[in-house]
Symmetry: C2
Subunit: 333 residues, 2 copies
């Protein structure tokens, strides 16, 4: 019989198929599409993007020219716009606001065909440093309540360009799913006076069967209540609510575990499309109620098509138990 | 500038691109895949499915033989199993339960290539009647707290078989998203002593710009806070919390609006993949707290790939405003 498992943070139930679990070869996941045309993110094509916001570049070079390692530009088709005052109003029973926000693109590498596992550790460290720097800069703007950093890699994950990039969105309100996660963690904290993520790390390290990788400052594991097959979380061992407060000394460890984890996923699933999202505390908010939150990265491989069942209920059916997924990622199966 | 719109029921914010909205021709949605092989849902192939649970069939014919118009069978690969007692337990900080439930498939037509718009009204009425009958039967089992009825049509919507079918799942707990919707509607009811869905119908009929179709008992419209482009809801005009309490006299009107709405979607998007989900009140629950809920159908066309942004936050970006989508569905554009 399948397991039903309940997420201890947000209360979501998922069905885990422990009876007839899918092995990696059972997934028909889509391959990457190589798009034709000139890539605006490639080295030398800097004039094709909007003007550079920030970059790590050779100090002898000018913005919007070659000489960079990591480059941040505004999204050419931004979901939200940075100019203006937030204007919230009602229309009958509905509420709305104008679309104030920021939408930036961090180009991770000058090379067109490189994904995170193909980069050097030092290159990934620069990507992480730049994510922190942009988040620190954006939260200075008091209109922004949440900075979301995420990556869509590959066609099936929603990427429109193949060249490796991360997106940074500043939102004028805290998204619903984030708020739920924070409230769930806070309820646990109030009841137990402990952080639920810290407890989760302890239990995962002790049980071991869902662990993927560990280093001095981080762990990666397949969560007990995965929503997607081969989902992996990366969590800092030291309690810290805000990603952009990441201590300098932890950056190499984060680069290393991110590279290793995605490398292992792509070893099992070549050409995998995936999303990852940095879950972090809101910015510019009353910090009461955010005690007990702990930033982390959730990596979601795109192996299945999400169907009506999941959309309708938030009740996911997971075809590979996380315990089995972890074995494949560790190379035991 | 884009709109930010807030769902009045669950509090979700979405970004609606009113500046550069996508037209139907801007979507590259996937085509249906015709699967090779023998279809187990086709007329004459009855022995290929598990034993029939219920059917509308010629009274002179035996179960599991031809002679049927609508047929319900257990899912051959059920997510949940019907035998056993519910056994909930904890593992450290996690909670789990065994996978008790029911998972049935309603085969809508004996013909392999027909979708809802290709069926006669009387045939769709039989599908609806059978959905009600199965829900009424399943809620007699006190272990089941929620009966979910949904349809995955087409490859991109997660269907594994092309032959038109609806799925019925009985769950031993109320899914999180359903509970949120019910709580949101209840909060509104407590505050205003009115049903939020009834208010929504009133406002949509009055404003008119998101309306798609209307008959004596039902309306269909593109919701103000659509999560997906060309999303359409069908709602009964008369307040009713439970789908399976659908009055007999409303069935022809529901068949007609369902056929008309999906017909219009497929006129704009030939070979469209879509999901629909019947949102209804829980079964076998304390009915306090469910006042103010109003059953309805949510139809979600699969025109875009859902990316990291949506998964991470529940903060959807909608590339065609519902007002424009409704114009296309009404044939005005």
């Amino acid at each position: 019989m399948a397991d039903l498992r309940r997420d201890p943070i947000v209360g979501r139930w998922v069905i885990v198929d422990t009876d007839h679990p899918n092995k990696p070869e059972d997934y028909e996941y889509e391959q990457h599409l190589s798009k034709a045309g000139v890539c605006p993110f490639c080295y030398g094509n800097e004039p094709m993007t909007p003007l550079e916001i920030d970059a790590f570049r050779d100090p002898s070079t000018a913005p919007n020219t070659p000489g960079w390692q990591v480059r941040v530009v505004p999204n050419k088709f931004p979901a939200l716009q940075i100019e203006g005052d937030l204007d919230r109003r009602g229309i009958g029973i509905y509420d709305m606001s104008n679309g104030i926000g920021a939408h930036e693109v961090l180009i991770e590498t000058p090379y067109h065909n490189k994904d995170i596992p193909d980069l050097l550790n030092e290159e990934i460290e620069k990507v992480i440093m730049m994510c922190c720097r942009r988040a620190q800069d954006l939260i200075k703007d008091k209109r922004f309540k949440y900075i979301m950093i995420f990556k869509n890699h590959g066609y099936a994950a929603g990427a429109s360009l193949q060249h490796a990039h991360t997106q940074i969105i500043a939102l004028p309100m805290v998204p619903k799913n984030v708020m739920e996660e924070i409230r769930g963690a806070f309820n646990y904290f109030q009841y137990r006076e402990r952080c639920i993520f810290c407890d989760m790390i302890r239990q995962e390290l002790q049980e071991g069967e869902r662990m993927v990788f560990e280093n001095k400052y981080f762990v990666s594991f397949c969560p007990f209540v995965s929503r997607f097959p081969f989902e992996v979380w990366i969590i800092p061992k030291k309690h810290n609510g805000l990603f952009c407060h990441l201590p300098q000394e932890e950056i190499p460890a984060l680069a290393s575990i991110l590279k290793e984890t995605i490398h292992r996923l792509k070893k099992v699933f070549p050409n995998l499309s995936y999303n990852f999202i940095i879950h972090t505390s809101p910015a510019n908010s009353d910090t009461d109620g955010f005690e007990g939150y702990h930033w982390h990265i959730e990596i979601m491989p795109k192996l299945t098509r999400v169907a009506g069942f999941e959309w309708g209920t938030g009740f996911y059916a997971v075809t590979t138990p996380p315990e089995l997924a972890a074995r494949y990622l560790k190379g035991i199966n």
